[in-house]
């Protein structure tokens, strides 16, 4: 079953709804995201990514069309919208600015507590979420403000994981982190998705990160979906990505130039290791050896 489905969704913000300056933030969007994978969402600033994300967890209501989570229209009974907000957990940009509690454990417990969970289950959830986010046990009783930047980011992520969302949506989860910090948090998200079967949607400008961690990618441009394909196919279409102001990973540009230089490495190169493997094949070596 599709974890997320949209059927002909359109939306415009307040003042842009009508009149001569009417401009849609989402224009007749239809998409289907399968359950259990990691999907990337890319697009230039203002392409409609954030609007789309807020549509999925019911923070915004479509002007036209339907949003379905696990096959259920989330606006069928508007009074029950809250349950869908727990179902699709959203980790905003720079979530560490939203930490507030006395201890890390209390901060992580805040969401599940609001869901009405009691002590034992609450404790279990906090420990499980901390483990997925890669936070050591001894950090749980510290003040969140004593953590490093990367640890704070992971504490904020744990707070959303503790609500056990069926769908986890992350807006620029690795922004501002150093390379090791990026690998820690994105690797943790991948492990969490694989072990728990949670569907993950990541919004990011980092093409290198998207190439490393996503199974498939949705490309947005001008309030519409330009393409939604497996990661390799998206990056192999670098001309179209460039036409809407997006980059491809540096290694993909190297591959493009290699083809021009008469080395047919293929258009679907998007990680360094894959490129190295292709070169070995070209030289007639067995990449497994």
């Amino acid at each position: 079953m599709n974890a997320i489905e949209m059927r002909h969704v359109s939306f415009a913000y307040g003042s842009a709804k009508n009149g001569p300056t009417a401009k849609k933030a989402l224009d007749d969007i239809s998409l289907a995201v399968e359950s259990g994978g990691i999907t990337g969402l890319i697009g230039h600033t203002g392409s409609g990514k954030s609007t789309l994300v807020q549509m999925i967890n019911g923070l915004l209501k479509p002007d036209e069309g339907e949003v379905l989570l696990d096959g259920v229209n989330i606006w069928a009974e508007p009074k029950k919208i809250r349950q869908f907000r727990f179902k699709a957990g959203l980790v905003m940009q720079y979530p560490e600015y939203q930490l507030f509690a006395e201890t890390v454990a209390e901060d992580i417990a805040f969401g599940p507590k609001n869901m009405g969970l009691e002590k034992d289950e609450l404790d279990r959830r906090v420990r499980e979420a901390a483990r997925f986010a890669g936070l050591a046990d001894d950090l749980l009783q510290k003040s969140p403000f004593d953590l490093s930047g990367g640890q704070k980011r992971r504490a904020a992520l744990a707070g959303v994981i503790a609500m056990r969302p069926k769908i986890l949506i992350l807006d620029e989860p690795a922004a501002g982190l150093d390379p090791a910090g990026r690998r820690d948090i994105l690797g943790g998200i991948k492990r969490f998705s694989r072990e728990s079967g949670t569907t993950v949607l990541i919004v990011s400008h980092s093409m290198e990160d998207m190439a490393m961690y996503c199974d498939d990618i949705i490309v947005m441009a001008h309030a519409k979906i330009l393409m939604h394909k497996p990661t390799a196919e998206v990056f192999s279409d670098w001309e179209q990505l460039a036409s809407v102001g997006l980059d491809v990973p540096l290694i993909t540009r190297v591959a493009a130039a290699l083809i021009e230089n008469g080395v047919d490495i293929g258009r679907d190169v998007y990680t360094v290791d894959y490129a190295v493997g292709k070169v070995r094949e070209l030289l007639g070596e067995n990449p497994e050896s």
Binding site: H205, V254, A256, L283, G284
Partner: protein, 297 residues
């Protein structure tokens, strides 16, 4: 060229309290920044980069060590407040978050803010603001409300503010981190233009290795010390050291490094994808030709 900044054995510790131990952020840092140079500072989070930037802008003073700005020692016993203020006007900083550094509601008023604080005559401010906005390509936005700008445009305005103040050295502390690829490229182009055309000394702190590769020189920090100092070719030419410090190298370098392990001899320092591809193509075609000749003989 004479150094605009000279640092000798800088040490800085953030004081602790009852709960928190003191943190030694800089542990003996020495270097010279020649006027008109373009330097990138790399290091993982917590390696001391931003602490160093704050010392160079004289937001903080070092606990130990000596610091000269434009030839005058800021750590000397007889330094006056007026001299420190004068040095602060020479070295400025552009921060990471565009929303945290716009102070006025109209673009040109924001650019003028620093000049007004310098007490310049209004006609001079007008001239400088117009020039600075033209330099960053934002003239048509002069009278626009600043809150309506994109993140990248806000960074352009912040840079215009430092240009208008005629700063001789600007430190960019992860100024592209919150921008999309187009905004990032545009801000990097402006930084490069400031350096190449206006001769302004530039230091960039970044996590993007491709951006660092555009500088003349890279300083790598780890544990409050400088662990590497050299041209991008020299610094990225030793990928192992970068990986050990929790950092990356450009993908072109990583690709070349892994090809060298296969016996394909390509240089590690071709950061432009076209240059890298040309060298790899040549080496691969040669190697393949060689293998065929062997098979045929």
């Amino acid at each position: 060229m004479k150094p605009i900044i000279k640092a000798e054995n800088l040490v800085f510790t953030y004081p602790g309290d009852e709960e928190q131990k003191p943190v030694k952020a800089l542990d003996g840092v020495s270097f010279e920044i020649p006027e008109g140079s373009f330097t990138a500072i790399l290091g993982h989070n917590g390696s001391g980069k931003s602490t160093l930037a704050k010392l160079l802008c004289l937001i903080n003073l070092p606990d130990r060590g000596r610091l000269w700005i434009d030839g005058r020692e800021m750590t000397a016993d007889d330094v006056t407040e007026a001299e420190i203020l004068a040095a602060r006007r020479e070295v400025g900083m552009v921060f990471q978050n565009p929303d945290n550094q716009i102070v006025a509601t109209i673009v040109e008023e924001d650019v003028a803010f620093g000049c007004e604080n310098l007490g310049l005559p209004p006609a001079e401010i007008r001239r400088r603001v117009d020039e600075a906005l033209a330099d960053v390509g934002m003239t048509e936005f002069a009278r626009n409300p600043s809150y309506k700008l994109s993140g990248g445009q806000k960074q352009h305005v912040a840079i215009a503010g430092t240009i208008a103040m005629r700063r001789r050295c600007v430190i960019f502390d992860e100024s592209t981190a919150m921008l999309d690829p187009v905004g990032r490229r545009e801000v990097m182009d402006i930084i490069e233009k400031l350096n190449h055309e206006e001769g302004i000394t530039v230091l960039i702190i970044t996590h993007h290795m491709n951006e660092a590769a555009r500088a003349d020189r890279i300083l790598v920090m780890n544990g409050g010390r400088i662990i590497a100092d050299g041209s991008p070719s020299a610094v990225f030419g030793e990928p192992e050291r970068m990986w050990e410090a929790g950092l990356d190298v450009p993908q072109t370098t990583e690709f070349a490094y892994k090809l060298r392990e296969l016996g394909i001899k390509v240089p590690l320092d071709l950061f432009d994808p076209a240059d890298c591809a040309e060298a790899v193509a040549k080496a691969v075609l040669e190697k393949r030709g060689g293998a065929r000749r062997e098979a045929g003989s």
